[in-house]
């Protein structure tokens, strides 16, 4: 591949992800509003929020690591986008693969932990310790799912995974071939999105939004940008592993948005578990489902 083409793809992929992510945030807020019988925010509300936060006069920084943590949180996802194949653009997906992606999706939480640590706010510290525990909880089923998918397709290359699924239509999709793993993946997706019932680390009324408590201005703006990437990464990863990726942009976007509807609806209908219950829940049911799925894949 020509280097200019690669450069264009590496620039375009995160940019597209951000724009799609903005609409995913909008969809999330709209679904929440509709479930509560409200009208919900206008079309460009996520963008207004981000521009306003970056345009604040006061930017309270608590030190170098505070700023660096936010850069890591956004940067981890920006790097992850270049590894996720989208229709027409593969970026460096062929060289990266699932294992690299798995590592990159952990970087934002660790970056956030660094940044929040520098703020020295007790609510933030409690929040981030819960967030890392939740990460530990959903990573076990997530790793099992990734391993199962890699075993089934015989490769960790996401481009190959997509090509194999698209070769035979719906019968060769990951979700049809490995329904148990797809179900376990949904649990991990809910954890990755950090939504209820696995949302105890934010808990606005208890610990004042936990990790976000000291974030104002551009720092909160950075986290809003991160949320766009987070929704995009989680849904596109699920589409790539289980729903055959995207043949073209229409089906790709339709699948990505549809995947998010279930976790978001669950999030707005259910309260949150305590941290130990999150661990028990995520280490029990999705792990059992995932291991059963592994047995079927192996046999």
């Amino acid at each position: 591949m020509h280097w200019a083409e690669l450069l264009a793809e590496l620039t375009l992929m995160p940019l597209v992800a951000f724009i799609v992510g903005l609409f995913m945030v909008l969809m999330m807020r709209k679904i929440g509003a509709r479930l509560q019988r409200r009208i919900g925010p206008p079309l460009l509300q996520p963008l207004y929020d981000i521009v306003k936060l970056f345009g604040k006069h006061t930017q309270t920084s608590h030190g170098l690591l505070h700023e660096f943590g936010i850069v890591m949180a956004v940067g981890g996802y920006v790097a992850a986008e270049t590894l996720l194949p989208v229709p027409g653009m593969n970026g460096i997906a062929e060289k990266g693969g699932m294992i690299t992606l798995l590592y990159l999706t952990m970087i934002p939480s660790l970056g956030l932990a660094l940044g929040v640590g520098q703020c020295a706010n007790p609510n933030g510290s409690i929040g981030i310790s819960r967030a890392l525990t939740a990460m530990l909880a959903y990573d076990i089923p997530f790793v099992i799912v990734i391993a199962g998918v890699a075993m089934h397709f015989g490769t960790t290359n996401l481009v190959d995974v997509v090509a194999q699924q698209q070769a035979g239509g719906i019968e060769t999709w990951g979700a049809t071939q490995m329904p148990l793993l797809a179900l376990a993946g949904l649990f991990a997706l809910q954890g990755m999105l950090g939504k209820q019932p696995f949302e105890i680390y934010v808990a606005p009324a208890e610990i004042a939004t936990g990790p976000m408590v000291e974030m104002g201005g551009k720092f909160l703006g950075g986290l809003f940008v991160m949320q766009c990437f987070q929704l995009y990464t989680a849904s596109v990863l699920y589409v790539t592993l289980f729903l055959g990726g995207g043949e073209n942009w229409v089906s790709f976007l339709a699948k990505s948005f549809a995947v998010l509807v279930l976790p978001i609806s669950v999030a707005f209908l259910f309260p949150r578990y305590r941290t130990e219950d999150v661990l028990t829940m995520l280490w029990k049911w999705p792990v059992i489902l995932g291991l059963l799925g592994l047995v079927f894949v192996g046999s």
């Binding site: 919900g40 509300q45 521009v51 306003k52 006069h57 930017q59 408590v213 974030m215």
Partner: protein, 242 residues
């Protein structure tokens, strides 16, 4: 009747007039987004708080105007004081206000924030919120209905879009006035963790009324802030108690 000094803002002095067209377009965009995205920190001290849940939830739905509740002063744009502020809570309100990021707006809801309302004769409440911090908008009533709250918020949005909601600048320009009222209530040794005078210089809002007799008193009593001691484990008192 006592006359309270009212300072009229000159809008031309506040609007940043950038030389090139891009910076002006960007300023316009930021101002528009500021008016369309407001995060509220509600300090619910009194009965007015009960009118906010209907204003936020399905019947009146603030979120369609881009207004959503936030829980930390760092994240918020609007400080919403709903009802009377006693002398003790006023201290917390001022600490909260000074921690918020500029541009910030204060809304006083209910008669109690306007003139003390039904607590006018109380020894323990602060009567006029405007004496202690610049209030951008009052929503009068006892209590104002959610329609009135939404109407007030829309008015604030219009003011922000027009670049007229500059109460936060007034706090820096006339810090001595506000500090004087705070000292009258809390005593001479009152100080907050925020260095407002340094901030006013930072924002280029340092004026003739920033310093005065009251800030001189503050500087006389001011103790430098010390970081909290970081310690793991129980303190002596907790150990004795257990």
């Amino acid at each position: 009747m006592q006359q309270f000094p009212v300072k009229v803002e000159q809008p031309s002095a506040n609007k940043p007039t950038g030389g090139n067209i891009f910076s002006r377009v960007f300023d316009e965009l930021t101002t528009f987004c500021r008016s369309r995205s407001l995060f509220i920190l509600h300090y619910c001290t009194g009965c007015g708080a009960i009118e906010l849940p209907p204003a936020m939830t399905s019947r009146f739905d603030m979120e369609r105007l881009g207004i959503s509740p936030m829980v930390s002063p760092r994240q918020a744009d609007i400080l919403l004081i709903t009802g009377y502020v006693s002398v003790k809570t006023l201290k917390r309100v001022i600490l909260t206000y000074e921690q918020m990021g500029s541009p910030k707006y204060v809304i006083g809801i209910c008669s109690c924030t306007v003139n003390g309302g039904m607590y006018w004769q109380s020894y323990a409440t602060a009567k006029k919120l405007n004496d202690y911090m610049p209030v951008d908008l009052y929503i009068a009533g006892c209590m104002p209905r959610p329609e009135a709250v939404i109407a007030g918020l829309r008015q604030l949005m219009d003011k922000i879009a027009a670049g007229e909601a500059n109460g936060w600048q007034d706090y820096y320009r006339r810090y001595d006035y506000y500090l004087g009222h705070q000292q009258r209530l809390f005593g001479e040794t009152w100080q907050t963790p925020t260095d407002v005078i340094a901030e006013s210089k930072h924002y280029d809002l340092f004026g003739g009324d920033t310093l005065g007799a009251h800030t001189a008193l503050l500087q006389q009593h001011q103790k430098p802030l010390e970081a909290l001691e970081m310690r793991l484990g129980l303190t002596d008192r907790q150990e004795k108690g257990s």
